[in-house]
Subunit: 228 residues, 2 copies
């Protein structure tokens, strides 16, 4: 019987590749996605397509309202920045940062893991490229793993030790795309754009589109995205 | 201008007292409550009553579905235990434990705090009495505080340091009730029962009712609860 793993699945390149890595490592993938009031809710549909293509054992979709807390261009009426150059690890944390988002997502993943007897949680966080998000750094992932092992009955009673896997954390977008291709991920099913058009096309101008385009170029892989 | 604090408010004795403590310490209280698929959803109404009585600056109610993950008598169709003696810190973690609940709640509180510029989060966790929940221990609270300070832009950029306050963590129910009375908490507004009747009366037989009754007795305070 395969070990279960919870995989956070947003429907983007990183989480699709992460899910494929979890499957390749022999885990039975239980995917967890969030509708969290994000402007780019079409990514939920992408998460569903990726989950089906991967043949996951279970896909749980949790609705939470991070808009109620505010503070991000991804959930508020703050404009998503457009036409900016792709930069390296940013000096400045972008307005698309959602306060404590990965803490919230991992907390839910931990609840789901403990409830179904899993001890492995995968997250597609990457500290490379433009993100600069504090909750995409190795320190954050390591600290959450420590927390998981004092927070839960499963760990405290010694039934196992939680591991938070962030296999992409040191990888840039091109490397992630190459790894995804190697594992058979169909990136045409994924979605990255922060400001998609009503017809579903990617804007081609937000930070996420810019990073995606550059990643495919650098990887030497044809970009399957439909841009506006 | 008062400093803001996020206070997790369930509508029970502990969180009502915790909110009163936060207010007494000079914080502007921003309360956060959860509808999480609990069987005793009447506690949501109690949270509203307590928030109004306290005159909180804001009361945010977040809906999440912890039933989707399963694993607890409070969210599943597992029977709530009845007619058990009140014991000390339990050897066995009760079936009313909800996997990683306080991790999920504190993660949301952290998101709300960062979004509104607060650095103080209050939780009414207590390690005393029967609970035996791993996420009610001082080790858990300290670890979450460490996490908060690596997880967020506000902390990483040095704008402040998050503090997780658990003022009741070493207090038994009678002491909590005495402290609440001293601070003017109206416990008739609060709700504890895990298995309330359709008419809103407390069952008087679940662990939570037993602990509440014993607490009022020991504190020498009249129990305002309407039991079945």
């Amino acid at each position: 019987m395969k070990q279960l793993a919870i995989v956070l699945l947003s429907g983007g390149i990183d989480s699709a590749t992460t899910a494929a890595i979890a499957a390749a490592r022999g885990f039975s993938v239980h995917a967890l996605s969030f509708g969290y009031g994000q402007r780019h809710a079409v990514e939920m549909a992408a998460a569903g397509r990726v989950a089906r293509a991967l043949g996951v054992a279970r896909h749980c979709v949790q609705s939470i309202d991070l808009r109620a807390y505010g503070g991000s261009a991804l959930t508020d009426d703050i404009d998503v920045p457009m036409d900016r150059p792709v930069v390296g690890a940013a000096d400045e944390i972008p307005v698309t940062y959602v306060p404590a988002r990965n803490t919230v997502f991992l907390a839910h993943a931990l609840a789901m893991a403990e409830a179904c007897g899993a001890f492995d949680i995968f997250i597609g966080a990457t500290a490379v490229d433009y993100s600069g998000y504090p909750d995409c750094r190795p320190e954050f992932v390591a600290k959450f793993e420590e927390l998981a092992n004092v927070a839960t009955t499963a760990a405290v009673e010694g039934r196992g030790r939680f591991r938070i896997h962030a296999p992409l954390i040191e990888m840039g977008k091109a490397d992630i795309i190459r790894e995804g291709v190697r594992l058979g991920v169909d990136f045409s099913l994924t979605h990255s754009c922060y400001a998609p058009l009503a017809n579903g096309a990617a804007c081609g101008r937000c930070d996420s589109c810019a990073l995606r385009r550059k990643g495919f170029e650098e990887a030497g892989v044809t970009d399957p995205t439909r841009y506006a």
